[in-house]
Symmetry: C2
Subunit: 421 residues, 2 copies
Amino acid sequence: MNESPPPTRNKLTREDCARRDRADPLAGFRARFHLPDGVVYLDGNSLGALPRVAAERLRAVVEQEWGRDLIKSWNIHSWIDLPKRAGEKIARLVGAAPGQVLVADSTSVNLFKLLAAALRLRPDRTVIVSERDNFPTDLYVAQGLIDLLGSRHTLRLIDRPEDALDAIDDDVAVVSLTHVNYRTGRVFAMKDVTAAAHAKGALMLWDLCHSAGALPVALDACDVDLAVGCGYKYLNGGPGAPAFLYIAQRLQETIRPPLAGWMGHAAPFAFDVDYRPAPGVARNLVGTPAILSLAALDAGLDVLLDADMAEVREKSLALGDLFLDLVAQECGDYAFRVVSAPRALRGSQVALGHEHGYAIMQALIERGVIGDFRMPDILRFGLTPLYVRYADIWDAVATLREVMASGAWDQPKYHKRAAVT
Amino acid sequence: MNESPPPTRNKLTREDCARRDRADPLAGFRARFHLPDGVVYLDGNSLGALPRVAAERLRAVVEQEWGRDLIKSWNIHSWIDLPKRAGEKIARLVGAAPGQVLVADSTSVNLFKLLAAALRLRPDRTVIVSERDNFPTDLYVAQGLIDLLGSRHTLRLIDRPEDALDAIDDDVAVVSLTHVNYRTGRVFAMKDVTAAAHAKGALMLWDLCHSAGALPVALDACDVDLAVGCGYKYLNGGPGAPAFLYIAQRLQETIRPPLAGWMGHAAPFAFDVDYRPAPGVARNLVGTPAILSLAALDAGLDVLLDADMAEVREKSLALGDLFLDLVAQECGDYAFRVVSAPRALRGSQVALGHEHGYAIMQALIERGVIGDFRMPDILRFGLTPLYVRYADIWDAVATLREVMASGAWDQPKYHKRAAVT
């Protein structure tokens, strides 16, 4: 008769992690990315890794399409449809039926478009609700828009996620929140907050920068009005990849684009003198799309679409659990605070607070464990299940312990701030 | 004693053209571009050809920077400075001292930024002057901005370039014109129109889409206030390359960016709650720049910077003269109108009108002579002296004659409109 293991919890070992990698149904995806040797990359929430297919596609776009077929490529390689084509791929990742998502411009520019559109759809209301700890560009764009429109509107900032519902009243035109907080990884209850906004007659705009491709999102099912998101984080679109925007079908024909450009015209190549918006979401295109960046994003999306998003979410949570368990086991002496949200509200990252967070992160990076630092004292570790292994988490925490135990983090070079942190 | 040739004008031959190519001081540049065999490319005013160095640079950016160095590239490969670095290269091509040009977003988005800024700098004025035959997006953006601001402003369109000065009165906030007309190639007198705008207290905004890299531009010397331009035409930056904007030094600190994004913040990585504009022109950045597209543009600019812009202009005019002379000589029977401006006002293109212009252009393209068509009946041929040869012009006109003489243009397939014309 077999003996069961004792019910007490054993110390985790690297072999435990390697065993989980061997059983991982997503393990095969890692080979589809180009990853440098000797690096544990936990910053895919800031810049996703390079999908091999993106490098190949970009080479073809440059050499065969731009180089050989030149201007004809707009038609023969359908460059003109790329914003919509890539948008439809993203739609599948964020729970949107076809015809509602476009790839265009940057997240900031798309926020401007949608906030401006929202204010015009609620002309008698004067308040934009957001969160003080929202990603700053979301706040800046709102501030800039309010200033442009003559300061008739105000930006009402909540201090805690729990305050969202109370902040929504009959003066609110639009509630603009980021689904997953960029520092803490905390997830808002999309459906509940959206319903609360609607109950007061406000529109709901979600920023999906830290959720698209990271966890299941159900825009249509949550009855969301507007959304934006980033192409270069969990979507692996490359540095500064174009962003996306979502506009619920029911609102599309009511949108008067504040950025009225020829690519959003009903007939761009008629060269009419007067602007006439294209039908549907396409009117929210503005200038000529950045095809090289867009093609890289479009190609990489196929990798993500081959994965089961429920499996991605499950592994992401498991990686996060492992990380936090190992920090407790291996680094209990070093005064790290867990900043991450509780498991049920945790996005695809973990965050630790430490007063020397900046220097510690620089020491980690020099040792090949790449996370990032966010003000004021947060070490942020992104978890991207398609290319991060359980054993990588072990190695990351082992390196963290070594950096702390040796005092190696406290060297002057690690305290010097870089331009981009 | 040698006999002089008779003073009557001889018919031009292909050998005359080839001789001019052998004497061309810019001839060596062609090898720095990737150009397909058997093609005469006269559409560099729509999409510039691929500089070989751009393909190399992009490969390095993808494989070594994104793929290997990942997020660290923002610092170690100075991605963060790329909008400014590429901007300074363009500054040298448009007669701007350092610190006034940035690469960012699309031309349309940059137009919005600068028109909005201009209206705020002239709050008591209500008119934007432009030209009915301006490139449509310039008009659409102005219409969209006026609509967003509550229709207090009006767009005053002149019907003929000659009317520009008369249209500027004390109600005008900003005069927004394209330096070189996209259809006719006609060049505005930048210095005179700018002075006329200033005389009435208005600001002057020039769109340089068809001038930057095509002919000498002297923004500072002409006392221009604001300018925008395109990266993918004569600057050879690749399809949908990011655009640029210029703000005269004297105005920069007065600009309140309507698109207030984190990349234009004084300290983007402080993650402050409140927007504070960066000093100088940098505040006009918005979101994360599209590094892949930007790197291709940046690399290709070096080719143009190696050329003498006076030589480029001289050859451009010579190519245009040759084209028009050959059309007169070879195609006099086929009812082409010269739509191009007179030589002294001609940009870097020639334009012919013909009632069957669309079909004729499709027949030319199928035969490897690539120009484009613009409504209502214009065949447009871009002249890019770094990679177009005099013999190419011969071959283009010879093909045009063949298409007309054979009646080959009048096949149904050439009348079918493509998505992008």
